[in-house]
Amino acid sequence: MNGAHDLGGMHGFGPVEIEKDEPVFHHDWEARTFALTMAAGFLGKWNIDMGRHARELMPPAEYLATSYYEHWLFGLEKLLADFGMVRPGEAERPQRDPGATAAPPPAGLRALQAEDVETALRRSRTSKADEDVPPRFTVGDRVLTKNIHPLGHTRLPRYARGRRGVVALDHGVWVFPDAAGNGLGRKPQHCYSVRFTARELWGETAPARDVVHVDLWDDHLEKA
């Protein structure tokens, strides 16, 4: 979707400001939002691409006016609602009794346990596919990206649509986010690093030597 998340090439946001000795989290709620999102993700109800798409669905004006972990919180709340795990307004009830015991998780689900965290993170393999799918392109091929504007999730950024590039690396077979993120299955296929000259993307005033590499899948590309 042509959302506010697709920022490459926009103007007017000002300088990049690097904070010295920045903490990993600036507020406790950021840390909890991060961990809640991760732990809920490990329940396996949605994939990483649906997770990204949920954040992209934040209205553009709100997306640009809020902080990173507010995007995450919006996405998590949306996924929990969409998958029927939290009903509207359900979280807005009085705080739980500290002595209360948790309910058993719904059938088929297992909450991530503290002792499993290290292994779960180490073994995390969200999108690599084992299927033996033949590549449509080989390194060195000239390609043209499709000019698509889907309403759903896509990993082809606006600035790289309808552009000519060269296949620089073949990353092997991966889940296709433009399908998986929209609940349309894994559609495993080759993903490549495609090299574009800065001039192809930004016009003749761009520096002649500079390039941008974008990771794209077979279904994003046509022979050029």
Binding site: F25, L73, A91, R96, A111, P207, R209
Partner: protein, 222 residues
């Protein structure tokens, strides 16, 4: 969304005393939302609060840019390791035990006098967690995501990195699950430094490509 603390007014005879309630300030809207959500998910048995603590602890104390710095320093002193790192980054960093989440496949790109690599994720915040930890705010922010692809030289210049016109700036937009890390140039005058001393020089920003590694003060005399 307002993050301002509320002011409480107490009337003492004729005086208005305004009090900042710094320590017991009411929670902001977003804090309340997160607390309520955690409480609800715990009640439903979907989340274990101790697992949340463990996730946070992992990225606050265990997995961070010191991982990547060790890899870079090792590549600087061991040409055979450097070759393996550039050929298959995933396998080479796994030799250090750095594997997993947000680093399923790692590609390491080498900065040289002829090529300056810079890593960005214009669509979200993809970042090689296993070697660099969680990304800093600036990496996830609109200015960097917007400008890194259209004006990388301008961004680099503002951050103090001057890439000569004779060199190529090569930007890597992390639009898939492949993660990128920059192998920065080893600074001159560090020939006699050991691997640990070298690792201490390597910064997170150099491994993203928006900084160079500086020689230590007096390093040439070591």
């Amino acid at each position: 969304m307002s993050h301002e603390h509320e002011h409480h007014h107490h009337h003492h005879d004729d005086d208005d005393v305004q009090e900042h309630r710094a320590h017991d300030a009411p929670l902001t809207d977003v804090e309340l939302r997160v607390r309520a959500l955690e409480s609800l998910l715990v009640d439903k048995g979907l989340v274990d609060p101790k697992a949340l603590d463990a996730l946070i602890d992992t990225y606050e104390t265990k997995v961070g840019p010191r991982n990547g710095a060790r890899v870079v320093a090792h590549a600087w002193v061991d040409p055979d390791y450097k070759r393996r790192l550039l050929e298959d980054g995933t396998a080479a960093v796994a030799e250090f035990g750095f594997v997993g989440r947000q680093s399923e496949k790692l590609v390491v790109v080498e900065n040289t006098p002829a090529v300056h690599n810079v890593v960005v994720c214009t669509l979200c915040s993809c970042y090689p967690w296993a070697v660099l930890g969680l990304p800093p705010v600036w990496y996830k922010s609109a200015p960097y995501r917007a400008r890194a692809v259209i004006d990388p030289r301008g961004v680099l210049q503002e951050l103090g990195v001057e890439v000569p016109q004779t060199a190529e700036v090569r930007v890597w937009d992390s639009t898939a699950e492949i993660r990128y890390m920059v192998l920065p140039e080893r600074p001159p005058g560090t020939e006699k430094l050991g691997e640990e001393e070298l690792a201490a020089l390597v910064t997170r920003d150099a491994m993203i490509g928006v900084a160079t590694v500086a020689a230590p003060a007096g390093g040439t005399r070591r």
